[in-house]
Symmetry: C3
Subunit: 134 residues, 3 copies
């Protein structure tokens, strides 16, 4: 029996329902959909890093990374990144930010799917990730 | 060679194409996107449990659970739940229903991603799940 | 330590950002979201197979298959197919094409989730896939 553990970085705002920010079992680590909320501040609700795609994307990627690291993984272990944008016009700019962010990746980059959906609260991007630990 | 098996609860309406409601291989069990269709009735087409988010969400969760159980798993084994809603205004109500439904969960809750998409036939919610058996 | 490898069929257009068309680690193979772009032609940008759902769906499935095969897998190994359409009116036609395409599948068909999202460049369909090798 392999134990299933919740991954809960202290910096994150609490999930809005009974789900884990990340969960790990055996060599599989799944990161829940992250958005561009700033680190939690006692007594404050979730606050987006800013109104721009760049601000939100960098914060979202930082939030995914924090879950990976809390689970003993890193971007190098990620197999799949799911990107949810709200506007097809954001694709090129998003890719530029993504490339900068992953410039130093050593292992094979994760696969990725990008689709355009609705998101609440002025959020422009949501990202989740599946990692397989070595 | 690990066998890949289809999971087909007798209560479910048949898939509208050549896909499995669930599939299992080794310790991985994937549940296909479920919606709020009532259990199949001979000679009737798929019928949503009702027009409300609550009716459809509870039926959808029941349908996911039936696939998990047919595959020898339970919600406790689920790593990731993907939630597709059609209306950002449904988020709070959906979370309330989700929390009630999972109130008794013992293991770490699954990770989750929620995005807003289009769905046909008056459907308000679709959910799929990835489980890793222990 | 299991190696993570990128899967890059020679026929594919290059990814528009630092991600892999497919990635394999241990027995898990993840195919990135594929669309209906024709095989790459030196000096030309990505070109959809045509304006119709049929043309794009068949090309998209061929592109997923090429990644699977480059990674030593086949459709028989696929656990989950994620289908992103842009128009709920395409569901029936898409299912017809899907059924024809998979008519000769021997193993249990993959599970599937279908949702309706936005896609750029006149694309009507995007598909990704998760395979578990035997």
């Amino acid at each position: 029996m392999t134990e299933k553990t919740a991954i809960t970085p202290a910096t994150h705002t609490a999930p809005p329902a009974k789900f884990s920010l990340g969960v790990k079992k055996g060599n599989i680590l799944q990161v829940a959909g992250q958005v561009g909320f700033l680190p939690a501040v006692e007594g404050q609700g979730p606050t987006p890093a800013g109104p721009t795609l760049r601000e939100q994307t960098l914060q979202t990627l930082a939030n995914v990374k924090a879950v990976l690291e809390e689970g003993g993984a890193s971007w190098e272990d990620v197999m799949m990144v799911r990107v949810y944008l709200t506007n097809t016009d954001h694709f090129a700019e998003f890719n530029g930010i993504y490339n900068e962010y992953f410039a130093d990746l050593k292992e094979a980059p994760a696969a990725r799917t990008t689709v355009y959906v609705g998101l609440p609260m002025g959020l422009l991007v949501e990202i989740d990730a599946l990692a397989v630990l070595g």
